[in-house]
Point group: C2
C-alpha cells in the first residue's frame, strides 16, 4: 500500500491553492473561558462547496490526464463529497456522474444538481450504491473518485492541517472528525511532519464508532449500522486510511449524540457561524473530556457547514 | 438639537477601538453571481455580545464620569441593546439595571443575566417598560442609556461604517437596517463625511415602516403596531435619529416578511454565518429591487447574529 508523504501534500497544495479558499482560523473568547482552554477553529465550513471535501476533489480532478478528463469522473455519495466533486469537475469543464440514494436530503441533491452533475438515484444501502456506480463506470468510462480511500483525495484533505499549522504553528493538539478517515489521515501526515510533538486525535460519534474500535483492536473492523446525527461520519474507514491512522494518530475519542448537538449549538450561538453536526464532534470531545485540552493550545478542524435549515437538531436536547 | 459630527465619531473610535472587535468584511461569490452585483458584508454579527449595539453601549459607558459610574447604568430593552449595555457595564465594573418584558425570548434574558445585569420584568407595552425604568432610575440614581436616541450611542454605532469604508473605500452604496435609527444615522454621518458621493439607504420591514413613512412625509410619524420577524427593527425613530436621517440618508426602502426570510436563508446557506432577521433586511431590499445595486459596489451592514435556535423562521417560506 502506498502511503502518501508530507512531500505529496506539499506538492498537492501547490497544485490546488489557487482553486481553493485559504479558510480563516477563528477563536471564541466565551468558549475558551467556559472550557478553560485555548481553542482555534480552522473553518472549512467556509471552503468552496461548504466543506473540506473540495480540497481532495479538486486535487483528484486536477490529477487526471486529458484522456481521463474526456470521460469525466464519477462517485457515489449522499453528501459533501458529491457536491465537491461536481463543483471541481465543473471548474475543469468535465462531466461528473453521481450515484445518490433517493433518500438524500433535498438540499444536497439540489447542490449536486446545481453544480451540473448527472445524478442516478439508487437505494441507500451500500450494495445498491456500488452496483449503480459500477453501471455508470461501465457506460461512461469515467474515473471513480473514491471519497476518502484514495491517495489524491487524502493529499488534498491534508492541506487543511498544513494551512492550519502555518497560521498557528504552536498548536499542541489537533482534533479532527473521523468518518471514512480522509481528513484525519491527511491531517495526521501533515501535522506530524510539521511538528512531531503535536498530538492528533480522531473524534467520532459513539453511534458510528468503527474507527475507534478498529484503532484500539488494530484490525479494520466492519461498521455496525450507524445511527448518528453526524451524517458526514456514517462511513467506515478504508484499508488505506486505516493504515495511516493506526500509525500516525495518537488516539480516537467517541462522543454521545447529545454532546454533538450541545457542541454544535455552542458554535452557532457563540461564534455565529454554521457548522454541520459532523463538524461539532471535535468540540464535543472536549465537552466530554474537559481535562484533555485544558490550558493546551488546541486546534479543531471544522469540517463543513452544509445543513438542512428545515431540519435542525436543536430541539433534540 | 445637537447633531453629532464625523469628528465626534472619530473621537469615539479612538475611545472604544480597544474594547470592540474590528469585525471582518466578507463577500460571497455565489450571492454576487446570483444577484449580478458586488456585495460586501460588514459582519457586526461577530461583534461582542453579537451585535453592533456593543459599539454604542461601550461608548456610552466609557463617557460616564466616575460619579455617574458609582450609580450604574439602566435601560429598557428586550434585545441586543440590553445585552450590549450589560456587557459594557460589566467590563467597566459598574452596575447595570434592565427593565425587560417578561415576554422576551429566554435566550435574550439569559444573555443579559449572564453578563451580570439586574433584570426587572415588566409588561411588553412601552408604557410599562418606561414606568418600570423610571422606578429603577429613581431608586438607583443610574444613568439612562437610551438604545438609539442618544448622542454617545449614535457616535458609537457610526464607527461600524467608518471601519467599513476604511476596509472598502470605493463602496458606491451602503445599505443599513433601520429600527430606532441609531446605526442608520451614525452610518450616514460617517459615510457621507468620508465620501459625499456614496448613497446611504435605510432598509426597513414593510410591517414596521414608520421610518419610511416619516422620511417621505418629512414628519416624525408615530409607529403602527409592528408585526415583523425582524425583532430588532420594531422600535420607532426618535427625534434625534429622525433629524439626522432626513438630512443625511438618500432613501428608505421597505421589504416583505417573505423576502426577509429568503435573504436570511441565503446568508446562512451561502455564507455559512448566522445573521438575525433584522440583519437580513438589507439583502432583502436587493432581492426586491434587483436594479438598485446592479454592477455597483455595495456595502451591507449585517447588524447582528442573535437568534433563538429553537424558533427559526425557515419553515415560513
Amino acid at each position: 500500500m502506498i502511503i502518501p508523504t508530507f512531500n505529496d501534500i506539499q506538492a498537492t497544495h501547490i497544485r490546488i491553492h489557487k482553486f481553493i479558499h485559504r479558510t480563516p482560523v477563528l477563536t471564541s473568547e466565551s468558549i475558551n473561558a467556559m472550557l478553560e482552554t485555548g481553542l482555534y477553529f480552522k473553518c472549512e465550513n467556509f471552503q468552496k462547496a461548504g466543506a473540506f471535501k473540495y480540497r481532495g476533489a479538486t486535487n483528484a480532478v486536477l490529477s487526471l490526464t486529458e484522456e481521463e478528463c474526456s470521460h469525466g469522473v464519477a462517485t457515489h455519495s449522499s453528501g459533501n463529497h458529491a457536491a465537491a466533486l461536481a463543483l471541481a469537475a465543473k471548474k475543469r469543464g468535465i462531466e461528473c456522474f453521481v450515484a445518490m440514494p433517493h433518500t438524500a436530503p433535498p438540499v444536497k441533491i439540489e447542490a449536486v444538481r446545481g453544480y451540473g452533475a448527472t445524478i442516478t438515484f439508487c437505494e441507500p444501502a451500500l450494495e445498491s450504491r456500488e452496483k449503480t456506480l459500477s453501471e455508470i463506470l461501465k457506460k461512461t468510462g469515467a474515473t471513480f473518485i473514491h471519497p476518502y480511500n484514495y491517495l489524491p483525495v487524502i493529499c488534498g484533505q491534508g492541506t487543511a492541517a498544513k494551512e492550519f499549522l502555518e497560521a498557528e504553528p504552536d498548536l499542541e493538539i489537533m482534533l479532527v472528525p473521523v468518518g471514512g478517515g480522509g481528513i484525519l489521515s491527511g491531517s495526521a501526515i501533515a501535522a506530524k511532519a510539521i511538528n512531531p510533538e503535536i498530538k492528533v486525535y480522531g473524534c467520532e460519534p459513539l453511534n458510528a464508532d468503527d474507527a475507534c474500535r478498529s484503532f484500539h483492536t488494530g484490525q479494520l473492523l466492519p461498521p455496525l449500522p450507524p445511527n448518528t446525527i453526524a451524517d458526514g461520519l456514517q462511513t467506515a474507514l478504508g484499508p488505506l486510511t486505516f493504515d495511516i491512522i493506526r500509525h500516525k494518530v495518537d488516539d480516537i475519542f467517541t462522543v454521545s449524540e447529545e454532546n454533538i448537538v450541545r457542541a454544535m449549538r455552542l458554535i452557532w450561538e457563540r461564534m455565529k457561524i454554521i457548522a454541520e453536526p459532523s463538524s461539532a464532534v471535535a468540540l464535543a470531545v472536549i465537552l466530554e473530556n474537559p481535562g484533555l485540552c485544558r490550558e493546551k493550545k488546541t486546534g479543531i478542524i471544522l469540517t463543513g457547514g452544509n445543513v438542512d435549515l428545515l431540519n435542525l437538531p436543536f430541539g433534540y436536547t
